[in-house]
């Protein structure tokens, strides 16, 4: 009896795991179907649910952006394209669709193009995923430690090779560690945001009474430089700064 019960439990668990594994793909395909039927808002909502579950594939963000774009929600479309690009900066589709979506953004200010070393840095940073960098760092650490141990315990065993090998491995470990930390920092900074309100007044000071300086429209990407409980200080690529309600910004 007990055995049967255990078997059923194990079966249910396995089934659940298997079902959970295929469910996102089913949802994804369902949303793609809705998109093809031009039911953009419904499709976008399904994509959004998948994103809310914690999936962060650039393709998922791209599809969600497309759906929001078609549903005339420019702000959300820009947000999703930006998300896709932050996960994969070299995604051509996302970059193209972002420029298309930005055509709809009123008062869109072009981002400054990246300098060559910034490009290189971006390339290097996205050579591995943040976890990839961390794993690499661990492996290299292990290898370099192994080298050192061998050097200590068996001084006579190819000491020159061991010494050099351990040194190079340690340097690689440091590099991977730094890149891993950078990737982690990059993935976890949310100092940029997309304006979600159709027309948001940017104020001179963080309170509702202060005077309006300018207006931002849906879909504009802003840099958040400071924040209080309710208000965020933003700056634009063209140098303008001001305060606006944090609720109007969706942080990237």
């Amino acid at each position: 009896m007990k055995k049967i019960f255990t078997a059923i439990c194990a079966f249910l668990l396995l089934y659940h795991i298997a079902g959970a594994a295929s469910a996102p793909q089913q949802e994804f395909e369902k949303a793609n179907g809705l998109f093809r039927q031009k039911q953009y808002t419904e499709a976008a909502n399904i994509y959004q649910q998948l994103i809310d579950q914690g999936f962060s594939q650039p393709e998922l963000y791209l599809n969600a952006g497309n759906a929001w774009y078609k549903a005339n929600k420019t702000g959300l479309a820009v947000f999703n394209y930006e998300k896709a690009l932050s996960a994969d900066p070299f995604n051509k589709s996302a970059a193209h669709n972002l420029t298309v979506a930005n055509q709809r953004v009123e008062g869109y200010v072009n981002d400054l193009p990246l300098l060559f070393f910034q490009q290189w840095w971006l390339h290097v940073l996205h050579f591995h995923s943040p976890d990839g960098w961390a794993t690499g760092a661990i492996l290299l650490f292990w290898l370099s430690i192994t080298g050192i141990v061998v050097l200590l315990l068996i001084p006579a065993f190819k000491p020159v090779l061991m010494r050099w090998g351990a040194g190079v491995l340690a340097a690689c470990f440091l590099f991977y560690m730094i890149m891993g930390i950078s990737a982690y920092m990059t993935a976890n900074t949310h100092d940029q945001g997309i304006i979600m309100g159709t027309a948001v007044k940017v104020k001179a000071a963080p309170d509702n009474e202060s005077k309006d300086m300018f207006e931002l429209h849906e879909g504009v990407k802003v840099q958040v430089t400071d924040a209080t409980q309710e208000f965020c200080k933003i700056s634009l690529p063209d140098g303008k700064t001001g305060w606006l309600a944090c609720a109007e910004i969706k942080r990237l």
Partner: protein, 659 residues
């Protein structure tokens, strides 16, 4: 009277002689005119009548008219002269009477007759209006009473007759003086001091008593004003107005509503009118009344010809009439108007120049619309005042709307005075975003002349519900190929991995990093232990080298007592070698004299000890291989060995401390 006639006769005869010589020289224009100093005189007021003969050849007789209703106070006095103007001879003879009317009424003095060059000429008749004198006011009621008794039609007819008579130019009348007296233009303003923007009515009027064909040649520009003309009936209608007791026909040339645009003293420009006045000239028909001139000339002037009466002249004996169109240009006197500026202190922000009395309504055409539609905000300002100059009230449209310039429609009442009507402003508002929007109240301010203060009218606020429309704004659309369409979706299979917490911040990462470190530590500990063990054995050997050597030497001493010399030397040699081996960390097998020497030199052990050591070692070797044994010598070797070891011990200790 007889005396006068005689003197005239003498005068006329003498004229014949004077003029006879010069008449042949000239054929100048002949004129015989009568002029009076005033057409309108009071009873008992003396006035002058002048009969002037100009360029009359061969004047043979002159007969003055019968002054029936007048009393001759003085005259006739005569004047004559000549002048040359522009090379033409000009000659005149004037006879002047000063007369005084006897009665009140209208009298026509027929012209005087004269015989010139054998022909009888006659001057123009003159009509004189005699009114009651100012001094005798007591007569006035008597005088007016019968007048009122007349039927109205008759009085009018009489008046008309009089007016018509003004158009008659009598002989001797000065044309310019007559025109000046009977035609003029005047500008009437309803006020001369007013506020900026307040209405001022200016009326230009033509006063005339003469038939005239007038045209306005210069229209005032009204600098500093905004003008709005009132349409006048065409053809112009005459009204009657009495100015200084004289009845004039009045034509309104122009009626304008003026709104000063600036403060200060402004001047209304004059209007200029060109008149062509048709004057009637009376010329007596001589053919009809063939009179014997000499009868006239020589008759008793007191004799009254019944046909000389002016009434008969008019009715039965109408004079020949000639018309003359006299051009006459007149202009109004300039009028100055003081314009006060509107008070500044209490001026509301929404004031935009409206002066008068106004009302405002503001409406929107729909309360709910989509972003594809347009909203119309209609503001109607109506009332009295400078309606034609109204500026649209400022409409503060929320940011969610795009505002276009208002469409202005005027509905001004025609010929209203004061100017009244309404002006409608239609603001087209395009909603840009969906949501509930509030259009703030429309505010309109004006200056109320009556209360001398600013008044503000405010509409209520409008709330509008805007729904999202189908069209979206695409400002910066790039129309190159494939630049404005998004790429298709990704439809492949994804690797559905959730991004959990990052490995970098997970404990596993640090555990994995810690593990090799632990291994490293373990390796270090192991190596240290091993090294310690190795190092410790050498140390003990070194430390106890002296003791070991001494033990061996004790054993050697026993062998010495027992007389086993070979064993003794063996033991002594071993003690020394062993000692050196331990002290110099050199394995026993590797020891050689050369190595020992080097090592000791390295440890800075002085040469004499080294030499002693080698002597001892040589002795031992010699003794081992040569069997000549001597107890004393063995005793000496023993003593030497102990001495060398202890000395080396000291020396090494010293060297170590130095190092």
């Amino acid at each position: 009277m007889n005396v006068t006639t005689v003197s005239i006769r003498k005068f006329v005869l003498s004229l014949f002689f004077c003029l006879g010589a010069i008449t042949c020289l000239q054929a100048q224009e002949f004129r015989f005119t009568t002029s009076v100093s005033s057409n309108k005189v009071a009873v008992d007021e003396p006035f002058q009548i002048q009969f002037m003969l100009e360029n009359a050849p061969n004047v043979t007789s002159f007969t003055p008219p019968a002054f029936n209703d007048f009393e001759i106070l003085q005259g006739p006095s005569q004047m004559q002269g000549q002048s040359i103007m522009n090379g033409r001879r000009f000659e005149y003879i004037a006879l002047i009477y000063v007369v005084q009317p006897k009665r009140v009424g209208n009298f026509t003095l027929p012209g005087a007759t004269a015989r010139s060059d054998g022909k009888v000429v006659r001057s123009n008749p003159v009509t004189i209006e005699v009114v009651k004198s100012n001094s005798s006011r007591g007569q006035a009621p008597q005088q007016t009473a019968p007048q009122q008794g007349y039927p109205q039609s008759r009085a009018q007819r009489q008046q008309q007759q009089q007016d018509e008579m003004e158009g008659v130019l009598r002989n001797g009348e000065d044309v310019n003086a007559k025109l000046k007296k009977n035609i003029f233009v005047k500008v009437d303003v309803d006020k001369t001091s007013l506020y900026e923007g307040e209405q001022l009515t200016a009326t230009y009027k033509l006063y005339t008593r003469l038939p005239t064909n007038s045209s306005v040649t210069k229209v005032p520009a009204f600098k500093g004003f905004s003008a709005k003309d009132i349409e006048l009936p065409n053809p112009p209608q005459a009204t009657e107005e009495v100015v200084n007791g004289v009845r004039f026909r009045v034509f309104t040339i122009r009626k304008t509503l003026l709104f000063p645009l600036q403060s200060g003293t402004l001047e209304l420009d004059p209007v200029e009118v060109d008149n062509h006045v048709r004057l009637v000239k009376l010329v007596k028909n001589n053919n009809k009344r063939a009179r014997d001139p000499f009868a006239d000339l020589f008759n008793d002037p007191s004799f009254k010809d019944p046909f000389d009466d002016p009434f008969f002249d008019d009715i039965f004996n109408r004079p020949e009439v000639t018309y003359e169109d006299v051009p006459y240009k007149i202009q109004t006197a300039p009028v100055k108007v003081t314009v006060k500026p509107l008070p500044v202190d209490t001026r509301p922000a929404s004031f935009a120049g409206a002066v008068g009395k106004f009302n405002m309504t503001a409406t929107i055409d729909k309360k709910s619309l989509s972003t594809d539609d347009a909203l119309t905000l209609k503001v109607i300002v109506s009332g009295q005042g400078n309606v034609n100059l109204l500026n649209g009230p400022k409409v503060d449209v929320p940011a969610g709307f795009e505002k276009y310039d208002p469409k202005v429609t005027d509905n001004i009442e025609k010929n209203s005075n004061p100017l009244s009507g309404s002006r409608q402003f239609e603001y087209v508002l395009m909603p840009q975003e969906a949501g509930d929007q509030t259009i703030p109240p429309v505010e309109f301010s004006y200056f109320d002349i009556a209360s001398n203060s600013y008044k503000t009218i405010r509409s209520e606020a409008f709330s509008v519900h805007v729904t999202a429309g189908k069209q979206t704004k695409r400002e910066k659309e790039d129309f190159s190929v494939n630049r404005n369409t998004i790429t298709s979706n990704y439809n492949g299979v994804l690797n559905w991995v959730k991004q959990g917490s990052f490995l970098l911040v997970s404990p596993l990462f640090y555990i994995l990093l810690l593990l090799p470190l632990l291994a490293l530590v373990a390796a270090l500990i192991y190596r240290r232990k091993r090294n310690y063990q190795q190092n410790n054995a050498a140390f003990l050997k070194y430390r106890y080298a002296n003791k070991v050597a001494l033990k061996r030497l004790e054993l050697a001493a026993r062998y010495l007592k027992e007389g086993k010399d070979k064993a003794f030397y063996e033991e002594t040699s071993r003690a020394i070698w062993g000692y050196l081996s331990n002290k110099l960390h050199v394995p026993f097998a590797d020891l050689s004299k050369q190595l020992i020497q080097d090592k000791l030199a390295q440890q800075q052990v002085s040469e004499q000890y080294t030499a002693k050591l080698f002597d001892l070692l040589d002795d031992c070797e010699m003794a081992l291989y040569t069997p000549m044994h001597n107890n004393d010598r063995m005793q000496g070797t023993y003593q030497q060995a102990v001495e060398v070891i202890s000395q080396l011990e000291e020396e090494l200790q010293r060297a170590k401390s130095v190092v």
